[in-house]
Amino acid sequence: MRAALLVIVSVSLMTLDHRQHHLEGIRAGLSVVVYPLQYLVDLPFAVAGWASENLATRTTLLKENSELREKQLTLQFKLQKFNALESENHRLRSLLQSSSRKWERVLIAELLQVDFDPFRHMVQLNRGSNDGVFEGHPLLDAHGVLGQVMHVSPLSSSAILITDPSHAVPVQVNRNGLRTLAVGSGDAGLLDIPHLPNNADIEVGDLLITSGLGLRFPPGYPVATVSSIEKDPTEPFATISATPLAHLKRTREVLLVWPASEEAEE
């Protein structure tokens, strides 16, 4: 009797959650309860990381320091030009009277070392709505786009990676501006590009960047490089796969990006 009742409740929960997304509040509440568990599971990994940082020898630290110094120098060199280019771009856009949406503010979040369903590609972040994280928040790492936030609770949030089979990123080919979608393949190191015809101008090695269409991801960030193209004349579309640039499995620190225009409105 009670079982039948609970089955009915569950089915209605599933419909409400899936169709209307009314239950984010309940999920957020439950997430707060679950967070200590996730934190506890993550703790040994965090301690190990802390220990390896603190117990590093002087020589390795010096070596790392000089490497970082070199890296910073080259990055700063690149930035010199970037500032000028950005203001020029801005000026040109205002001449054309087209607005450019700026995505500026960045927050560093840490991934908790916890597992989800192995068939979904999701990660848990240690930042939540208390830090201003919102649903659909774009997630990047130092190399490219990682994914977007799916569920937010006050202290933590879970994000879906671009390789999840139910995820798609609007991208464009950096070389010629050809726009398409990069859909997750369910394989950790692969994206599918299913909607390009056989005669599309795309080559192996092409860089795919976010196009900014769909208004979820900031435009112009690297997503993937095209790794293989198969053109079968009997098929309407080419079979194209791409390798994500972000280190999906290896990063611990990720970046959350805010649109700057939204800050101005607030």
Partner: protein
């Protein structure tokens, strides 16, 4: 006559907490598909051993937390765990006198049933896993049953959970 004296509830609570944590612990890629359904077997054990204490309701709540942990649509694990509890409660008297091997087979059937319902729901939502590896956890859970049974039984006896 019936002076049922509940005690040791914290052991039950703790076993579910540990099961949830084991569900969260990161495994290497090759083992991720083998992760046993920890919460399900802990629930099966308690429903069998203490049917008057652990039942459909507790299973449902544990399932709801499992939904949040898996980032799944709310209610799918809750529903399957409530059903598992329901079947185990119906079977508990027979299950208790079965030899270990036969118990493990029943566990296999229960977990297979759970996975069947889950894949059915996931199919509805449009995120059904297209790999036979999806069914592996039922096997690992079955293999795990004898050990888990002994551990939880000893815990129950030692702390006189009633």
């Amino acid at each position: 006559m019936r002076t049922v004296h509940h005690q040791g509830g914290w052991i039950i609570f703790l076993s579910f907490i540990v099961a949830l944590m084991l569900t969260l612990i990161p495994l290497p890629d090759w083992a991720a598909y083998l992760r046993p359904e920890w919460v399900s077997i802990v629930l099966i054990y308690w429903c069998m051993a203490l049917p008057e204490r652990v039942g459909v309701g507790i299973g449902w709540v544990a399932g709801l937390f499992l939904d949040v942990i898996h980032g799944a649509v709310l209610g799918q694990y809750a529903m399957t765990l409530a059903l598992i509890a329901y079947f185990t409660l119906n079977l508990h008297q027979r299950l208790r006198v079965y030899p270990m091997g036969q118990q493990a087979l029943v566990v296999l059937l229960l977990i297979l049933f759970q996975q069947l319902v889950l894949i059915w729901i996931k199919g509805f939502i449009g995120e059904s896993p297209e790999s036979l590896r999806y069914w592996l956890p039922s096997l690992t859970t079955m293999l795990l049953w004898p050990w888990l049974f002994v551990i939880l039984r000893d815990l129950r006896r030692h702390y006189r959970v009633r």
